[in-house]
Amino acid sequence: MTAPLTSLDRPNSYIGRSVPRPNAKRLLAGRGRYVTDVKLPRMLHAAFLRSPHAHAQITSIDFERARALDGVHLVATGADLAKICSPWTGTLDHFKGMISEPQLPLPLERVVWAGQAVVAVVAESRALAEDALELITVHYEELPAVVALDQAREPGTPLVNPESHSNLCFRSQLDSGGVDDAFARAAHVVEEEFSFGRHTPVTLEPRAIIADHDPEAGTLTVHHATQTPYQFQDLYSRHFGIPESRVRVIAPDIGGSFGMKLHVYHEDMAVVGLSILLRRPVKFVADRIESFVSDIHARDHRVRARMALDENGDILAMDVHDVTAIGAFSTYPRTSVVEGNQVIRLIGAPYRFKNYRAVLEVIFQHKVQTSQYRAVGHPIACAVTERMVDLAAARTGRDPFDIRAQNLIADDAYPLTSPTGYKFEALSHQACLQRLRDMMNDDALRAEQTTLRARGIHRGIGIASFVEITNPGPAFYGVGGARISSQDGATISLTPTGEVRCAISVTEQGQGTEAIVSQIVADQLGIAQEHVKVVTGDTEVTPHGGATWACRGAGIGGETALQAARVLKANILQIAALVLQEQPAALDIEDSTIVDAATRLQRLPVAEIARIVYFRSDTLPPGTQAQFTVSHHFAPQGYPFAFTNGIQGCHLEVDVETGFIKLLKHFVVEDCGRIINPMLVDEQMRGGVVQGLGAALFEECRYGDTGQLLNGSLADYLVPMAMEMPDIVIDHLETPTQDTVLGAKGCGEAGTAAASACVLNAVNDALAPFGVSINAIPITPARVLKALGRF
């Protein structure tokens, strides 16, 4: 489906145009201002002594020598910070029955993962603080560590949470009914068990925070590398007992986040506490080694799946069981069960079948916490579904494109509700499938595959359809009691020179939030984009809002900007009508000029209206009060989420001698509704795909038996680099949501959602002549050789 023409499609509209990001030039010149770069007067530096054990009792801490070191201002332990910071618990009400241990900035008695911060030192410099750490001795009594998933589930295994009866954090079940019947009458049943490795976001800028408590003013200012400043304003206020209006969180340039920088980290809460204790600014920047053992990890799922088909190759039902291990407690405030919850709800989502059953078990273990990272749950759901579809294709003798054409939901079948309860407004799976087939030139690739196989060259083709959750409403977190907003707010002003300033609660991490907001505002107001200044990332400056997470910047933030701009435009035209003695409806704005709405004849520069309002209000009719600053909020209504869809394809070559996989080309067709800036959408896709390819081939946090992370450095943990990555061909369909004027949905997760699924299918396609298959991600050379019986 292609979007119907609306007022947004007029010639020269900024919406739909690939304009470069106005704020990117600073970054290219080395003028970015990241939290890492910020220095405040009298600022001190924190460093943390971390636990070498995955599970241990702290018997004593000897820090006298550290305290005595010149330049050290404070040594603090769990007890010191517990006096000023109330504990937090990472559960939400709508996840019935879930449990998690309350957390404090630093532990009082027990450490629960290797790398957990135990003692804080604050000193004149980071180097001095680290010197002091070496003078601290913590005596531990080591306790048995629960490391592997199976071990955590064994009866009689040590308990991670001593208050509970097992290591189960949360269990959930979905059942549409009719599943057993469907399997009983199935002509074909395919089954597989999958494992998905733990990986971690590895933002290039590590976590960084500066807390600055001013006891005289009663204020707390936190420069925080985060996506969600308002969430942290609320958390710091509540956990440290400072009125919300006295807490300011500033998120300047952020060196990547991908979900990682919106969770509560113990060190961040500790740094706020340290600043309160010292009454001075305190800075902490995680170094890379610390990042690996303390940033959230993600994934780590094991999924058993069955799929039933009838004799015609129609999918009848799926039955899945997902077990995931999340570390020693659930992350705050978004929990660690959302990923599993999305896995079981997204499995099968592109397909027409009605009978679905799923069980989710979320398990505690002695590792660092897992939580939301780009495309939460999507890559697992997609890989399971799409591999099952390929297995079904092989079983029934169908081509992968054909079986999907047969089973994907028809594009005219909407609206409809999935067996897992998701309400789809309008998706375009079939059109995307056809577009991908044309784009990949599948027949030619198959012919080439056959020819090359004869020469011992093994190429594979893999495709994967996906659904992406975007524009989340309060059903996501709000209903569970989390103080995480699903609405956004903007304050937009016409300045005295006729320019526009828009302070909006969505935030920028490089995806282009500020660029698209300025495009929308410029478009709606009829003002050139270079005359629109967008301000983000400061709770003191913009209204409260959800900010940027789960794909909401364009869809919700964009609509907020659009509506705010329309209100301001009405206010401008009202004054222009008074000045020109016209009706407001007879006027419009074009190129910063008031024009006749019908004839487009230029009447008066907007700057002249602004001049009159700000400096010569005496010339306006008595009683006129111009409102050239407008604050406006938008909360999504209608569908609880705006789902998007798409399909990806992967062409690769497997070296069956070495197990190495060469990615040849990657293809994406996706539908994120109204596209505001095609270039930025493409770049979101490419970046997302590459994160998915990293997961598919390289990335895995490897642990030893005692719970030590074995590859926690950038030399040992493999991330995708330029040399291994393919060129990525992208095409779009546009099915706008009717829930907003703008019609935009999100696109940030789509690339990651299906990339690893395509690779899994393509590798298995390449290996098909050998009669072996792979069901684990990442697909390392060792796994390939093992499957081939050569390792």
Partner: protein, 178 residues
């Protein structure tokens, strides 16, 4: 809790050494601790914060600077080792205009997102084009294989560098033929 006095003292690790070098075309003198890396010195002492710390072990290249005209990891050498050298950072290369065409093309193609890797990417690209005027895409990818970017997926960066190489080559041909 234990609060100590604020007396500031320095052990051996903090006894400073004077380093003299040419930073971004200016004679610069800096007092550094022997253990300070060139990265520490540039960022903390000289406030040249365009050079970034990503891994502090030479694997991500966020800290690349030019030392005597060659790209080096500022995190992998001590500041004292740069004594007498010529250092050019992203700030200096921007001011001199040496990489203006690369910066413009990166901007035009949105070959950056968060921007944290970008100064290092530009310095790698600058070095590549200084000894290989028209590199293939494969060569460009190879030259960037030590620069980690989590945001872009690399393709737009490769495109931008290839476009600049082509434009520079075309300009050279034009200048020769005119």
């Amino acid at each position: 809790m234990s609060v100590t006095g604020t007396s500031f003292g320095s052990g051996d690790a903090d006894e400073t050494v004077r380093v003299r070098f040419m930073v971004n075309g200016r004679k610069t003198v800096c007092e550094v601790a022997p253990r300070d890396t060139l990265l520490d010195c540039l960022r903390d002492r000289l406030e040249l914060t365009g050079t970034h710390a990503g891994c502090e072990m030479g694997t991500c290249a966020a800290c690349l600077v030019q030392l005597d005209g060659r790209a080096v990891h500022a995190c992998l050498m001590f500041a004292v080792q740069a004594d007498g050298a010529r250092i050019d950072t992203i700030e200096g290369l921007t001011e001199s205009g040496a990489i203006a065409d690369l910066q413009a093309e990166f901007h035009r193609r949105n070959a950056l997102q968060c921007g944290f890797c970008t100064p290092g990417m530009l310095i790698s690209a600058h070095e590549l084009l200084s000894h290989n005027a028209v590199p293939s895409r494969e060569t460009i990818r190879d030259a960037l294989s030590g620069n980690y970017c989590r945001c872009t997926g690399y393709e737009a960066i490769v495109d931008a560098i290839a476009a600049v190489a082509a434009a520079r080559a075309a300009r050279k041909t034009r200048d020769h033929s005119s």
